[in-house]
C-alpha cells in the first residue's frame, strides 16, 4: 500500500544529499539566524533576568527550537506550481497514485533528511554556545515530539491548500509570500506570543499558525498542564482536518480546470 510513497520519500531524501554545498550553507544560515535572535534578545533584556515573568533562557529556548524545527519543516511551496508551469503535471497524473500523497511523501523524505543532517547539527552547535532549558520531564519531551509532528501537519496542509491556487493563478509567488509572513510573524517563532497583548495572543492561540512552532515549545518548557496540552493538540488536529479539506476541495475543482502547458 505504501510502497510507492516510500519510494518517493526515499528519492527525495537521496536528491537532497546530492547538493552538499547548498546543504552546508543551509546549516550555516540556521545558526546565523539563531545568533541574530540571540543578539537582539540579549540587547532587549539588558541585565534584567526576566520580562513579564519570562526569562532569557525561555526566550532562547523558544527561538532555538523554533528555528531548528523550521529547518525540518521546510515545505516546498512550489511543488505543484512548478509542475503546472512546466506542464510536467501531466506525467504525474499518469501515475496510479494520489497526487497529494505524493506531495506529502516528497516533503517527508526531505524532512527526514533535514532532521538528521540539519536539525541535529544546528541544535548541537546552538546548545553548546547559548545553552537551552532542559525539557520539563520525559513525558513532556514525548508530548513535544507529538505536538511538533502535528505542527508539521498544520504547516504542510496550509502549504498544500495555498499551492492548489495555482490552478487558477499562474503565479502563486505572491500568496506564498503572504502565507510565509503570516507563518513567521504569527507563529511565535520570531516574537513569542508571551509578549503579545492578551487580546492578541488570545486570538493567535486559536489560529493555526501558533500551533506550528509555539505549541510544541510551550509543551517542552512545561508551561501547559495535561488538560491544556489536550486542548492545544486538539486545535492542531482540527486545523489539519479543516485546511486539508479545503485543499482537497480546491484540488478536486482545480484539476477540472487544468491546462497542460506546452505540447
Amino acid at each position: 500500500m505504501l510502497t510507492p510513497y516510500l519510494a518517493f520519500a526515499k528519492k527525495s531524501f537521496l536528491n537532497r544529499s546530492a547538493y552538499r554545498f547548498n546543504h552546508f550553507m543551509g546549516i550555516l544560515n540556521t545558526i546565523l539566524r539563531i545568533f541574530i535572535f540571540w543578539g537582539i534578545y540579549k540587547a532587549l533584556y539588558g541585565d534584567r533576568s526576566e520580562v513579564d515573568g519570562i526569562t532569557m533562557t525561555m526566550v532562547t529556548t523558544n527561538f532555538i527550537l523554533s528555528i531548528c524545527l523550521e529547518a525540518v519543516f521546510c515545505v516546498n511551496d512550489f511543488y505543484l506550481p512548478d509542475r503546472i508551469n512546466s506542464g510536467s503535471i501531466a506525467n504525474e497524473l499518469l501515475l496510479p497514485i494520489s497526487f497529494p500523497g505524493r506531495m506529502l511523501a516528497d516533503n517527508l523524505g526531505n524532512a527526514v533528511f533535514k532532521l538528521i543532517y540539519h536539525f541535529v547539527p544546528a541544535l548541537i552547535v546552538s546548545v553548546l554556545i547559548m545553552g537551552i532549558q532542559a525539557p520539563a520531564g520525559i513525558p513532556m519531551l514525548l508530548l513535544f515530539i507529538l505536538s511538533a509532528l502535528l505542527g508539521y501537519g498544520v504547516l504542510w496542509t496550509i502549504s498544500f491548500a495555498v499551492q492548489m491556487c495555482s490552478f487558477w493563478l499562474i503565479n502563486v509567488w505572491s500568496i506564498v509570500t503572504i502565507k510565509n509572513v503570516f507563518v513567521n510573524v504569527l507563529s511565535g517563532s520570531m516574537i513569542p506570543l508571551w509578549f503579545m497583548p492578551d487580546w492578541m495572543s488570545g486570538v493567535l492561540e486559536l489560529l493555526p499558525f501558533s500551533s506550528i512552532y509555539f505549541t510544541p515549545v510551550q509543551i517542552y518548557l512545561g508551561q501547559l498542564s495535561y488538560g491544556e496540552i489536550a486542548v492545544k493538540c486538539a486545535i492542531q488536529v482540527v486545523w489539519i482536518g479543516v485546511i486539508y479539506l479545503i485543499g482537497t476541495l480546491l484540488w478536486e475543482k482545480g484539476k477540472r480546470k487544468l491546462v497542460v502547458q506546452g505540447g
Binding site: T3, P4, L6, A7, F8, K11, N15, A18, G87, S88, I89, A90, N91, L93, L94, L95, P96, I97, S98, K255, R256, L258, V259, V260, G262, G263
Partner: protein
C-alpha cells in the same frame, strides 16, 4: 458490443486571456480581464477495438494532444463521454492509469539526474509491478530496443533517441493494455525511428496491446497503423484505412513524359501541362484527376500524336494528400 475505447461527442475548450497591446492594454486588462474561449476539441466521437493500432493525426493545434490527454485521464472533457476498458478515465484516474501507458515525446517521465535503471526501479514501486513481471518485461524490452549500453547512464547524458527509447520502455514496464504515443519519434534520427517503429509493431502483434499514435511523421503511420483518424480544428474529418484515404482524396495522378523532341503540346481537356525544364524541355508533366480523365485514353492520345521515349505514372504520396487536407483543398 461495447468497444474497448469509446469516445462520444467529446468537447473541450480552454480559456485564454486576451490582452490588448502595450501598457494601456496591460492596465486595462489588470482591471477588467478579458478572456477568449478556444475550442480545442469539438464533438469528436470514435471507437477503437482491443488490439487495434490507430494513427491520430492533424496539424499543430488541431486538438490531438488534448484528446490524448482526455483519454489518459489528465484532462476533463467539458461535454461528452469517454470510456476506456470499462473505466471513465478522468473520474477514476488512479485505478485507470495503472492499465495504460503514455509516452509524451516532448515530456520525459524519467528522472533527469538518475541512471535509467533507477527510474525504472522507481516505476516498479509506483505501479507495484511484481518482481518476475518486471524482470521479464525489462529484459525483453532492453533487448528489443538495444538498450544495454546506456541503461546505467544518467538520463541527462543520453541522446534524444536513447532517451525516447528509455521513455517508451518506462511506459510499458507495467504491461499496460493500451498505450498512447504522443509524437514518439519527434527529433529522432532515421535509424532510431525505424527501431522504435519495428518495436511498436512487434509489441502490437505479440501482446495485442491497443495503441494510439499522434505524430507528424506520416511514415510512422504508414509503417505501423492500419487505421487513421484525422482531426483538424478540433473536429474529426477522416476515420478509416490508409488506403481509403488514397481512394477518397488521392485521385490526382501525374504522368511524366519524355518526348523525343521539344514539342508544343496542344491543350487537352481537364489536363494541366507543366514544363519540367529538363532534357532541353523534352520532359513534360501532365496532371489530372483520374475521375475525369481515363489514363489509357490520355496515353493513347499522346502516343498517337507525338514521339515518346519514356513514360511514368505516379500517384501522390500520402503526405501530400494529408497536406492538402490540412490546407482545406480537399474535403
Amino acid at each position: 458490443m461495447e468497444q474497448f475505447i469509446e469516445v462520444k461527442h467529446v468537447s473541450k475548450s480552454f480559456k485564454i486571456s486576451k490582452r490588448a497591446k502595450g501598457i494601456p492594454g496591460t492596465i486595462a486588462n489588470l482591471l477588467v480581464p478579458k478572456y477568449e474561449k478556444k475550442q480545442a476539441v469539438q464533438d469528436v466521437s470514435f471507437s477503437i477495438a482491443q488490439g487495434e493500432m490507430v494513427g491520430f493525426i492533424g496539424p499543430n493545434g488541431a486538438g490531438k494532444s488534448t484528446t490524448i490527454k482526455m483519454l489518459s485521464g489528465i484532462l476533463y472533457p467539458d461535454a461528452g463521454e469517454i470510456k476506456v476498458n470499462g473505466y471513465i478515465p478522468y473520474k477514476q484516474r488512479r485505478e485507470y492509469v495503472g492499465s495504460i501507458g503514455v509516452v509524451f515525446g516532448q515530456k520525459s517521465q524519467l528522472q533527469w539526474d538518475l541512471p535509467v535503471i533507477d527510474s525504472f526501479e522507481l516505476l516498479k514501486a509506483i505501479y507495484r509491478i511484481p518482481e518476475a513481471t518486471y524482470r521479464k518485461n525489462l529484459n525483453r524490452f532492453m533487448e528489443m530496443l538495444d538498450m544495454v549500453e546506456f541503461i546505467n547512464r544518467p538520463v541527462r547524458q543520453l541522446s534524444l533517441g536513447q532517451r525516447m527509447r528509455a521513455d517508451i520502455v518506462a511506459a510499458l514496464l507495467h504491461s499496460p493494455k493500451i498505450v498512447f504515443f504522443d509524437e514518439p519519434t519527434i527529433g529522432v534520427d532515421v535509424v532510431g525511428k525505424e527501431k522504435i517503429r519495428s518495436f511498436i509493431r512487434e509489441l502490437n502483434a505479440e501482446d495485442k496491446v491497443s495503441m494510439i499514435f499522434t505524430t507528424h511523421d506520416m511514415q510512422d503511420i504508414e509503417k505501423t497503423c492500419n487505421r487513421l483518424i484525422i482531426i483538424d480544428k478540433g473536429a474529426k474529418i477522416y476515420d478509416g484505412s490508409i488506403f481509403g484515404i488514397r481512394e477518397k482524396y488521392g485521385t490526382t495522378r501525374q504522368l511524366d513524359v519524355e518526348f523525343s523532341e521539344n514539342y508544343t503540346v496542344e491543350p487537352i481537356q481537364n489536363v494541366e501541362v507543366k514544363e519540367l525544364n529538363e532534357l532541353d524541355g523534352r520532359k513534360k508533366r501532365f496532371i489530372f484527376e483520374n475521375t475525369q480523365v481515363q489514363i489509357d485514353a490520355l496515353m493513347n492520345h499522346l502516343l498517337q500524336n507525338y514521339g515518346i521515349r519514356d513514360i511514368n505514372v505516379s500517384e501522390p504520396e500520402i503526405e501530400s494528400i494529408i497536406g492538402k487536407i490540412y490546407a482545406g483543398e480537399v474535403c
